[in-house]
């Protein structure tokens, strides 16, 4: 299956703290194909963020195998992991996580400055492309503190996609936004997916989850449901309003 982007087998993550063991992930196996749009939902503390961190190489699993784009990345040295995060993966966080000392353009350019294979002109072009995609070019010189939450998150999305990663990971990207801004960010992700991006998004907002093609439910560190939504939007919109 050369269409497979992610394959994990029997993944475990245990946190040890003060004689307390937290089994954040227990025995997770999962495959994600290129071009997938996966939503992960579940109650707070069930292990969603942990799963996303492991997928994004921000954290190492306690046990299990992780193959990303055909390479086993379970036991890579830190330097190689940093390179993969930089070039293959884009992150979007709930709390935006823009660097306050840097302006919008510099924030978006940041991941590009970590790689050596890009010329200055290329880098400039990529940053411009990313900002255009999220419609934030007009704010390129602003600092994060001068932007609204929705605008900050759009810049964060631009930063995530600037390096043309093969995988986009978003941890509750709309969690800190009002519904109107949330809507805009979701549409942005939709558009990126339509352009071919593979997206993994944690959300416990059912309305956001309903936009995804494939929906995972996590409970106590296990995947308890994994289903495809053939006609994503309509069905669940209804569900939300019915509630």
């Amino acid at each position: 299956m050369n269409n497979l982007l992610i394959k994990i087998d029997n993944l475990k993550k245990v946190y040890y703290s003060e004689e307390l063991e937290t089994h954040a992930l227990s025995d997770i196996s999962l495959s994600i194909a290129k071009g997938d749009y996966v939503s992960i939902s579940g109650p707070s503390g069930c292990g969603k963020s942990t799963l996303l961190s492991v997928l994004g190489l921000l954290d190492t699993a306690t046990a299990g195998r992780y193959v990303l784009a055909g390479h086993d990345v379970s036991n890579l040295p830190n330097k190689e992991r940093a390179r993969i995060r930089n070039q293959e993966i884009g992150f979007i966080f709930q709390s935006f996580n823009l660097i306050s000392d840097l302006d919008v353009k510099e924030n978006v350019a940041l991941p590009l400055t970590y790689r050596r294979d890009l010329s200055k002109a290329q880098r400039k072009q990529w940053v411009k492309d990313a900002l255009d995609k999220v419609d934030m070019s007009h704010r390129a010189k602003h600092y994060p503190s001068q932007l609204s939450g929705g605008q900050q998150q759009r810049v964060a999305v631009a930063r995530a996609i600037a390096g043309k990663p093969s995988l986009l990971l978003a941890d509750e990207p709309t969690g800190n936004l009002d519904s109107k801004n949330a809507e805009a960010v979701m549409q942005l992700l939709d558009k990126l997916h339509a352009d071919g991006a593979t997206i993994c998004m944690v959300t416990h907002d059912p309305r956001s989850a309903s936009q995804a093609k494939r929906r995972l439910e996590v409970l106590d560190g296990r995947i308890v449901s994994d289903r495809l939504q053939l006609n994503p939007q309509s069905e669940d919109k209804h569900h939300v309003y019915a509630k």
């Binding site: 961190s53 921000l58 390179r83 995060r85 993966i89 992150f91 935006f96 996580n97 503190s145 930063r159």
Partner: protein, 810 residues
């Protein structure tokens, strides 16, 4: 604004973290204690007014040479002229220091005293305890000899007898009538235990014969020291025009008496004061920073409280209460430490002088110290309280609450932290260079080479009273007998006799070299050298190496002989590569009598009459046989064959048998004498070593605290950057580079200021410029290591976290 409830809140916060409270309090105690110590110490030594009525206007007038404040006495005639012409001085008097033999109940004893004009007591507004002081008539030449004695002398020599007045006492073999007894602790002008009239009328003798005196006076109200000094300079210039031969280059200046004693050591004093202020800043910055980082930890809480409507003033008041509590507690502990330190100091400084300590060396917590303490306390409270308050309450609390960006360290805090690190680097480097110069200087001094073998030698001084030894031949005979009899004692080996052993100041005279042209007949146009008289054999026995020619021998004995030995430093300065043997030099007399040429028969290695590193210590010397120019006062150096005690006994016994009224005084080992010379330096360097260590600790902990704070605050930012693919090396490099930049920003000014102060000090200390360079290099390396370690440790900690954990870090 300072609400009591805020005080209680601050107390609760401090009680909640006893470790933090203890640490900050101790840092403050160390800072206040150490810098207050220096201020109090220096003030007592040189700046404090003498403890007399009108002591603040009391000054001493001394002579300067080519602008250098030499602290020498003036020609009495010159002083008379000043007395008539100077505007800003009142009650001008004169004195000179003398040491005398007083025949008391246990034989003759040496005392320090002064010969003075009668108003010396009035100058200090002090009445005698008993009797009266001498008057103008008793000060006339040829008047009946009288004396006023000090309290301790009265107690020790006369058992405090109540009928002491009008008794006769033999001083230098002459009967003196005791007129009065001065109160306890009265040692004016510095260590006098008895006061004799000057009995001199300068007008009656030639300029050359006039004695030398220090002036004493009160500055008239309405005049400043500077104005008076300008007048004195002008008057002396006029004298120099009138008497160019003796006076060109000579000036006069007035100083408080303690300042006169400090002389050019004043440069060191100023550096010490700068260091003292800096260490106070350092401690304040550290405590301020500790409070700041706690305030940042409480930042969210503060923001919430403000959102809930707490007025800004209340928040500032709480922060200020915290620093008030810490600084006051620390200050009180510091004050207690200081009291103890000053007590130790009094004991230590007492060992610097052989006899009595100058009377104003009374260390303790005085009004000045308390005033400075209060000033320090207020400044530290201001600095420590101001920093956190500024950071915390000035900002937009709303932004703290909604701040979703990463780089959680707000711009302002970041900048403040950087400024603090830079200041700490600057301060510590400056203090450390000053301390380093002092410590190295002491090290060099202790290793100083005086040009002689100094071990296992007992030294003693003998002064022949002029009343019974007026003839040169009498003097020669006595010292010859003394030498041969001492050498027969089993407790003693070789006996060397000289006017001044290496390490002891010798008279400096102008020397003319045969065949050289001199610009004029003026004293000042001739080269100068120490003029020392020795008993033949003494130089060789002391281990002064012969370089050319020969030592003195029996053929040089006698007042009709004219031979001289010079040091190689003298040869280098005046003969270059030529052999000086057989060449002639002469001592330039004031009255320019017929030249008395002396033939150079030998060259010896340079010996130092003062600390070898000092300018005086580098002065070349000329030696002449004692019998060619007999002197009344000589120093004995006796090689020990047994212990000091039996050697001392042997000396006393021998003297007793030769002349029962002749005392030996200042009996101690040569080593002890030389050690005492460096005593003040040893003490000072001990204090500064302590200072240096405290500084390194304060700086290391302070910078580490700041750096780890800065980096901890950036944990999330680091997590974000790693999530975006920055590798660890890159992040570590960035942080270390930022640390290095701060090192440069603080280090370069620190080097400049520190080296400036260090250079000023090295002018009067034993530290050559190369040593200063080494000290600076070493210290910047040490501080650099401190900064980089302080950056590296928290960086490593931040990087050891998984990025996922760093991202969640609050």
């Amino acid at each position: 604004m300072f609400m009591l409830s805020d005080c209680r809140y601050a107390l609760r916060l401090l009680a909640k973290s006893p470790g933090f409270t203890a640490l900050t309090t101790l840092v403050m105690a160390a800072g206040i204690g150490l810098s207050l110590y220096l201020f109090s110490f220096i003030n007592t030594m040189v700046f404090k007014d003498l403890p007399f009525t009108d002591g603040d206007s009391l000054v001493q007038i001394s002579q300067s040479r080519h602008g250098a404040l030499e602290g020498n006495p003036l020609n009495y005639q010159d002083y008379q002229m000043l007395r008539e012409a100077v505007q800003g001085l009142d009650e001008m008097g004169a004195y000179r220091n003398v040491t005398v033999n007083l025949s008391g109940r246990d034989g003759a004893v040496r005392y320090s005293g002064v010969r003075a004009e009668p108003n010396i007591f009035q100058l200090t507004r002090t009445q005698p305890l008993m009797g009266r002081t001498f008057n103008q008539a008793e000060n006339l030449p040829g008047a009946e000899p009288v004396v006023v004695i000090g309290y301790d002398l009265w107690k020790s020599q006369f058992a405090g007898a109540s009928d002491i007045l009008e008794r006769q006492v033999k001083i230098d073999g002459v009967s003196h009538r005791i007129l009065g007894v001065m109160p306890q602790d009265y040692l004016f002008p510095n260590v006098a235990e008895l006061w004799l009239p000057l009995n001199e009328s300068p007008a009656a003798v030639s300029r050359q014969q006039a004695g030398r005196v220090y002036g004493l006076a009160h500055i008239k109200s309405g005049y400043s020291t500077t104005e008076v000094n300008q007048q004195l300079a002008l008057l002396m210039e006029r004298l120099a025009q009138r008497y160019p031969q003796t006076n060109s280059g000579l000036g006069a200046y007035c100083h408080s008496i303690p300042l006169s004693v400090a002389e050019d050591g004043i440069a060191v004093v100023y550096s010490m004061q700068v260091a003292a202020v800096l260490i106070l800043f350092l401690a304040s910055f550290n405590v301020g920073n500790l409070l700041l980082s706690r305030a940042i930890e409480r930042g969210k809480e503060t923001a919430i409280r403000m959102a809930l409507g707490a007025p800004r003033a209340r928040l500032i008041s709480q922060l200020l209460w915290e620093s008030i509590l810490i600084c006051t507690l620390g200050g009180i502990i510091g004050l207690l430490l200081l009291a103890w330190g000053l007590e130790v100091t009094e004991r230590v400084t007492a060992s610097f002088s052989y006899g009595r300590q100058v009377f104003w060396f009374k260390f303790g917590i005085d009004a000045f110290t308390l005033k400075v303490f209060l000033l320090f306390l207020v400044s530290t409270i201001f600095i420590t309280g101001f920093l956190p308050a500024w950071k915390n309450s000035g900002g937009d609390f709303n932004q703290v609450l909604r701040d979703g960006t990463r780089g959680a360290l707000s711009k302002k805090t970041g900048r403040l932290n950087r400024v603090l690190v830079i200041s700490e680097i600057f301060l510590s480097l400056t203090i450390l260079i000053v301390a380093g110069v002092i410590v190295v200087s002491r090290y060099l001094e202790e290793r100083a080479d005086y040009g002689v073998k100094t071990d296992n030698i007992l030294i003693a001084s003998v002064l022949l009273p002029s009343s019974r030894y007026s003839q040169a031949q009498q003097q020669v005979t006595l010292f010859n007998q003394l030498q041969s009899q001492l050498q027969q004692q089993s407790a003693l080996g070789d006996v060397m006799i000289s006017t001044a052993l290496p390490g002891m100041p010798a008279p400096v005279t102008a020397i003319a070299i045969d065949g050289k042209e001199y610009l004029s007949d003026q004293q000042t146009s001739f080269p100068r050298a120490n003029h020392i008289l020795v008993m033949p054999g003494s130089l060789a026995k002391l281990g002064v190496e012969l370089r050319q020619g020969r030592y003195f021998s029996a053929q040089d004995e006698g007042q009709d002989k004219a031979t001289v030995i010079v040091t190689d430093s003298f040869v280098t300065a005046h003969f270059g590569d030529q052999s000086p043997l057989g060449k002639r030099i002469r001592v330039v007399d004031y009255d320019g009598q017929t030249p008395h040429w002396l033939t150079i028969v030998g060259v010896v290695r340079h010996v130092s009459q003062d600390k070898p590193s000092s300018a005086d210590g580098r002065m070349p010397s000329v030696f002449r046989p004692y019998s060619q120019l007999p002197q009344a006062q000589m120093v004995l150096a006796m090689r020990l064959k047994s212990d000091v005690h039996s050697a001392t006994l042997a000396l006393r016994k021998t003297l007793q048998s030769l002349d029962p009224e002749l005392p030996a005084y200042r009996i101690e080992t040569y080593q002890a004498f030389l050690t005492r010379k460096t005593g003040p330096m040893r003490f000072l360097s001990g204090v500064f070593l302590l200072f240096g260590c405290a500084t390194v600790l304060l700086t290391a902990s302070g910078i580490y605290g700041l750096m780890s704070n800065t980096i901890r605050q950036r944990t999330q930012e680091i997590g974000v950057k790693r999530a975006l693919g920055a590798c660890e090396q890159r992040i570590a490099r960035q942080l270390l580079l930022a640390g290095a930049a701060q090192l440069l920003w603080g280090g370069i000014p620190g080097l400049i200021v520190g080296c400036g102060l260090g250079y000023g000090m090295s002018q009067v200390m034993a530290t050559p410029p190369q040593a200063l360079f080494l000290i600076a290099t070493l210290l910047i390396l040490i501080i650099g290591a401190v900064v980089l370690t302080a950056t590296w440790l928290p960086t490593r900690r931040a990087l050891s976290m998984e990025p996922a954990v760093a991202l969640r870090y609050e």
